[in-house]
């Protein structure tokens, strides 16, 4: 018994020492935050709990994620209850004091910006509404920049020796980002005022930024899958004003979208709801460029 406890003690001691000698270990709940961390802290060891093909509302508190959160110095998540179904369980199981509620090691993007779509009243008969407002804020490049500024400060707080570098990288990135935003917006000027049909409020921030209008939702109620009856209603509603496109995320079942696209003769776009795992859209820049490209491809008749 004594041997065992001695062994365990040495093991604990070893892990604590290693934690200081190594670069920051960062657990990102979603890929967009992992991408942002790679910009601000390229030396950090980053893992993303989810990827573009997964619905971030419905992730399981898997054993692998518990292990990853156990080692993290910082967890970067969306907040606003997007991860309510899994992050609390991970925090509880991972036994890592650094990433508990209220600790500097837990960063919520939604706490850094003002959210849109805050419901006046929350009742589950209206579906699984996001009570704190729409959490899919990373689709607004302005808000993304605000989050980046706050995240750079958080990194500086956690790792004071690297503070000047984090701030410097943020400023350089923000400069480029603003030019990019102006470029994307002028390219997408023709989209302004156009109606789109989409599923869920996933792209609401993007529509607001580009001036698109979501004229119908494939979801009968927030969080519920599209039903045949509801799709019929959507069809009769959009017949008088055909949408630019039917838009779904790459993790949503494409069948309802395909059906509506066939009925309306408008294209179906499967847009990546976040940074992709590989290819040109694996960075924030590349991902926004792809979103704009895909939307523009729908507006030019081929």
């Amino acid at each position: 018994m004594r041997m065992v406890s001695k062994c365990l003690l040495t093991l604990f001691a070893a892990t604590t020492v290693v934690a200081h000698a190594q670069p920051l270990r960062i657990f990102a709940c979603e890929p967009e935050w992992a991408a942002l961390v790679r910009v601000l802290a390229p030396d950090a060891e980053v893992s993303s709990a989810t990827h573009v093909l997964q619905d971030p509302h419905h992730i399981e508190a898997r054993p692998a994620l518990i292990g990853q959160l156990r080692r993290a110095d910082l967890a970067v998540c969306t907040g606003a209850s997007l991860e309510a179904g899994w992050l609390p369980m991970l925090q509880q199981r991972a036994a890592n004091p650094a990433v508990q509620m209220g600790k500097p090691g837990l960063f919520f993007a939604a706490e850094q910006v003002k959210l849109i779509g805050i419901p006046e009243q929350v009742d589950r008969s209206n579906g699984d509404v996001h009570a704190e407002g729409n959490p899919h804020l990373h689709l607004d490049p302005h808000r993304l920049q605000e989050v980046a500024a706050a995240l750079a400060e958080r990194l500086a707080h956690l790792d004071p020796t690297g503070a000047p570098a984090y701030r410097q990288r943020y400023l350089q990135w923000a400069d480029r980002w603003q030019q990019r935003m102006a470029g994307w917006q002028s390219r997408a000027a023709s989209l302004r005022g156009q109606p789109v049909v989409a599923q869920h409020s996933s792209f609401a921030y993007l529509w607001a930024w580009l001036g698109l209008r979501q004229s119908a939702d494939l979801e009968p109620k927030p969080g519920l899958p599209p039903s045949p009856g509801h799709l019929q209603q959507v069809l009769s509603r959009v017949r008088s004003e055909l949408p630019l496109a039917v838009v779904q995320t790459s993790y949503q079942n494409p069948q309802p979208g395909e059906w509506l696209a066939r009925q309306t003769g408008r294209p179906l776009l499967a847009l990546p709801a976040t940074v992709m795992s590989e290819g040109p859209a694996a960075t924030l820049d590349g991902w926004f460029t792809r979103l704009i490209d895909q939307l523009l491809s729908a507006s030019t008749p081929s």
């Binding site: 054993p63 156990r70 080692r71 609390p88 004091p97 508990q100 579906g127 699984d128 899958p225 079942n253």
Partner: protein, 384 residues
């Protein structure tokens, strides 16, 4: 009985107090200090089954009111009050009331109070998250549906990319042995190891080993108050939380494997889980061959966000002590279920269960049931 009455009064007060808080909590939507949840569970079943936890006809199941939250920066707390029917009477029982550390270093965590023992795959999960109407036979026979008790736990999680978790617990042993007084200060101990991880994007797994030591085994003569005579066979009744078949040691092996295309479990998911348990040290007359065994294998498939279907096969083999000798008993059970989940908060389940007596369980029966499990308020995050 007096004890029960004051308990239900206490629970009733707690219920009232919690529901008042719940109303406040829903109004202030951000940063709730307390998460309140109410789980409604009930339904109809055609017949009673052996070792079943639900009564035939219309009956409520595991109705539960829970509250949890961070107490301060060092502790988290959780409590749950559950409603049961026992011999025709409705009882309220505190199934969980514990505190847990948030700030210990090196992956250590201590929990104290009343909580679900960390053994096997299902025991530490809430019953309302189950895929079938009843817990597997293994749990109904050896753990009184689910084993919770007053005690303490120490856990350690390793700093690795996959899960390595070791845990040790000590409990009073009173709920498992269905007794109010005992000589022993610590009635049961457990040890548990869990490993788990991902295989690529689409698969994840978990494997566990557990040991439960029952110090109270043999202390109470005849284990329970009810003595079976020879004509009765070995069919136990399990509407209480005491275990029907006990021994000095319970060993458990459990494994889970889940598959979802691209890891997108909301749309489609296959869940395969199985457990095996062995109970030894039945009493002083028991030879090494006198052991209880139980196992199950469960397969559940979600093919649409709102639809799941599953099958489960259970087997139980017991040696029921009768003075200095043992009666062999063997029971098999098969279940098929279809679940409709209109939202994240509601489940309607149709299930067929068939029991087959292989000796000693003459009351083995078949049942068809329809039940609901629905939750209001905070929907606690589910485990794996």
């Amino acid at each position: 009985m007096k004890h029960n009455k004051s308990l239900s009064l206490l629970a009733g007060n707690l219920l009232l107090c919690l529901s008042v808080h719940a109303a406040d909590a829903i109004k202030a939507n951000a940063g709730l200090p307390l998460d309140i949840s109410l789980t409604l569970d009930g339904g109809f079943s055609s017949r009673d089954i052996v070792l079943g936890g639900r009564e035939r006809g219309f009956a409520l199941g595991h109705t539960e009111l829970g509250a949890s939250g961070n107490i301060d920066n060092r502790f988290r707390g959780q409590a749950a009050v559950a409603l049961h029917r026992h011999e025709g009477k409705t009882e309220l029982e505190v199934e969980e009331a514990y505190i847990e550390t948030l700030g210990l270093p090196a992956g250590l965590q201590i929990r104290g109070g009343r909580f679900l023992a960390q053994i096997g795959y299902l025991n530490s999960q809430h019953v309302h998250a189950d895929d079938f109407r009843e817990r597997p036979l293994l749990y109904r026979a050896f753990l009184g549906q689910h084993y919770f008790d007053d005690g303490m736990r120490l856990n350690w999680v390793a700093p690795s990319d996959f899960l390595v978790q070791l845990g040790a617990e000590a409990f009073s042993g009173k709920t498992l042995n269905h007794t109010n007084s005992t000589r022993e200060r610590i009635g049961t101990y457990t040890l548990n190891a869990r490993l788990g991880g991902d295989l690529g994007r689409s698969q994840s797994w978990q494997f566990g080993l557990s040991w439960l030591r029952n110090q109270l085994q043999g202390e109470m003569k005849g284990t329970h108050d009810h003595h079976h005579d020879h004509a009765e066979g070995v069919a136990g009744e399990a509407h209480t939380h005491g275990a029907s078949y006990t021994g000095r040691n319970l060993y458990l092996v459990d494994g889970v494997w889940k598959w979802a295309p691209d890891g997108n479990n909301r749309e489609r998911q296959l869940r395969v889980s199985g457990e095996y348990a062995r109970v030894t040290g039945l009493n002083k007359f028991a030879s090494s061959a006198d052991v209880h065994n139980a196992a199950y294998l469960s397969l559940v498939y979600r093919w649409h966000p709102q639809w799941e279907a599953g099958i489960r096969a259970d087997a139980l083999k017991v040696r029921e002590p009768h003075d200095d000798h043992f009666h062999a008993g063997q029971l098999e059970e098969r279940s098929v279920m279809l679940a409709y989940k209109p939202s994240h908060f509601s489940t309607l389940r149709l299930q067929l269960t068939q029991q087959q007596d292989r000796g000693g369980f003459a009351q083995a029966s078949n049942t068809i049931s329809l039940n609901y499990v629905m939750s209001l308020g905070a929907h606690g995050a589910h485990g794996f």
